[in-house]
């Protein structure tokens, strides 16, 4: 089963998105903070990471940078998600090493397409 690490500090969004992903036959690993994301990325080695950017302790940009700087996790695709529409969030996320970017509220169908484009359409 394909494994997705969902990093999201908002409880409702985390619950909703994880349930919808589970329904689409993804195994979902959850992280609430940036620090936790870095740990879980290394321990669970997911196929893809959905990364909220405004997180407590280490923020999403920093967590992405860290994940991308460590050999074991560098190849995992990261899709950055943010509710911030201000400023150059997209560029900042890309600079931090994210592979793609989407704004919240998530358009689930579009997000699924993005996920599939990274993982290939057939379940592994």
């Amino acid at each position: 089963m394909r494994k997705i690490l969902l990093v999201e500090d908002n409880e409702m969004n985390r619950d909703m998105l994880s349930r919808r992903l589970a329904k689409r036959d993804f195994e979902v690993v959850l992280a609430v903070t940036g620090r936790e994301a870095i740990e879980k990325a290394a321990s669970a080695l997911p196929d893809l990471i959905l990364m909220d950017l405004s997180l407590p302790d280490v923020d999403g940009w920093e967590a992405t940078r860290k994940i991308k700087s460590q050999a074991a996790t560098a190849a995992i695709p990261v899709i950055a998600l943010t509710a911030h529409a201000m400023a150059d969030d997209r560029e900042k996320a890309m600079e931090a090493g994210a592979d793609d970017y989407d704004t919240k509220p998530v358009e689930f169908v579009r997000l699924l397409q993005k996920i599939e484009s990274f993982l290939g359409s057939k379940p592994a």
Partner: protein, 705 residues
Amino acid sequence: MDAIRQLMLHNQELREEVRTAREAAEITARLVVKQFDETERVLELFKSANAQRQAVLDAASRISIIAADRHGKITLLNRGAERMLGYSAKEVLGKRTPLDFHLAEEIKASCEKFNGIAGGPAGGIDLFLYYAQHYLSEEHEWTYVRKDGTPIPVSMSVTGIYTSEKELTGFLCAAMDITQRKRQEESLREAMVAAESANRTKSTFLANMSHELRTPLNAIIGYSEMLEEEAEDLELKSFVADLRKIRTAGKYLLALINDVLDLSKIEAGKADLFIEPFPIESMIREVIATISPLIEKKTNRLELSIAGKLGNLTADLTRTRQILFNLLSNATKFTEKGTITVEAFPKSSPAGERIVFKVRDTGIGMTNDQLSRIFEPFIQADASTTKQFGGTGLGLAISRTFCQMMGGEITVESEPGKGSTFTVELPREVKWKQAAGGSARRVEGANVHQKAAGKNGPNTVLAIDDDPAVHELLTNYLRKEGLEVVCAGSGEEGLRLARKLKPMAITLDIIMPGMDGWAVLAALKADPETASIPVVIITIEENRDLGFTLGASDYLVKPISRVQLFDTLRKYRQGRAAGRVLVVEDETATRDLMVRFIRKEGWDVVEAGNGREALDQIAERKPDLIFLDLMMPVMDGFEFIKELRAHREYRSIPVVVVTAKDLTPEERQWLNGGVYRVFRKGSFSREELLQQAREIILREVKPAV
């Protein structure tokens, strides 16, 4: 008889002589009289010229004119001066010097500016003579003091009085009261500061509010979508319809928030464009696919007509899509059982090739009066349309602004009852420069500047000054530091070169003939192409507040030293972003704050919560500077420094201690051996800390230019 004849002859001769003499005397007398008349006439002329001169001087009743000899003794004081200063001419002529009307400290400070300059004024009257000789009637701001002690701000010029042999015999001070102007400047400055702060507050509020609104909306839309799917699976048809209503309402709310946010970003000058090439036709088809449910709902028909070779457009894809979507959704809103046509074609124009999009509908149309207002924010063609058709009335205002930001335009033609046609024209290749924010912004970090700098720019300083001597001086100073200097002799030329060269920084003189420095600064900051170039004012006029209010990055008062100039300019030099700073601090709030303001300087920041973590960070990549707290769990600052010293390759990293601890003399001494500087928490300013960091980083990191 002979004797008698002889006598008569003699007599005749004498008579002749007397006649001649009388005639000569008469002629002489006539000449003398004539000469006298002439002299009188000249004298009269002179008197009237003098009266005229006096009249001219006195007529200038709003200007104070005071003349003095080389020693400062006043030789002339016009009525304007009497009025301004409250002295009568009689009181001061030959008795006082112009120094008596000035603030002693101002004269002293002004003299000090020329310290170290050969031939500079030693003090007092010398200062005026120096100005008269070197500044050729240039106006400067001074303070006059009235007889009753009231200070008056004046703009004054000092002109030399010379003999025909070109010898300086005195000087003339012409001064104008600028109290009114000062007051206006002050209120303008206050208004600008207030407006800026209000605008910042608004932007921050909107940014926060949008975040706060989007987060729960995310949940509303997501859960309703999820439940909708589940209801479909369970075949609960009635639930599906209701859940869809919740989702639609949520999405509408989201669109509304996005519009308001877009507009506020544009107003705050923070709207960014992301310029990339994309195929035009597929972009149009994508938008049509999104909008088609709306078109079908109103039983409208959609026609797409593409003429010519469309190819790629280099612009902001999201914004272009948004513009087209806005126009189409507008068209469907006001059209029922009609036709909506989308046309796209390339068009050549003097400014280069443009791409034209037309959205035509057969809807209700608009009157001329309505047409004139539809691009205004918050206004729909008719207030009642809001009730009937919904919408924020922001879509068109936003579309127009984005068009303009990309160097294009949007126009509309309409006839009531027949329909409307909206036309959008965009350059085929939108330039990044055109894509700068809607309003001028101050540079806030190296990144912004790097983006703005053009090909020539990164190493070039543009010097705008009317004095060729200053050009030479700046060129000499800065070439030595490896910077290219381009000089402009007037404000107009400066503006042109700034646009052309996109220099890394501009030095700007204030007092220039024609367009003065203030006007140049305002023009630079109002032009999105040049707004982000840092401007350093170099002037003799002390008016920092106005300078900073108008957007200057630095303000130097002449005469300036080489070190001062370079210290100021190198801040703007590219390549400083290469610096990497490690912040070691266990208290999260303090660490976050430090990280944030160090990052703002454009440096890379890594953080550590204690000495152990810091060593891990250093092992991963060596920083150029470490900010270190002393009291930390796991491994404290002292322990950390010991470890650092134990590693040969780490020993050279500069460490700046930032601590709340009261150091004992022993501790202080121990630290002195190994750290660069100790800052006591709460007793230094952020700027001091950054200044220290800049100094170290500049030395440690060679600029990447």
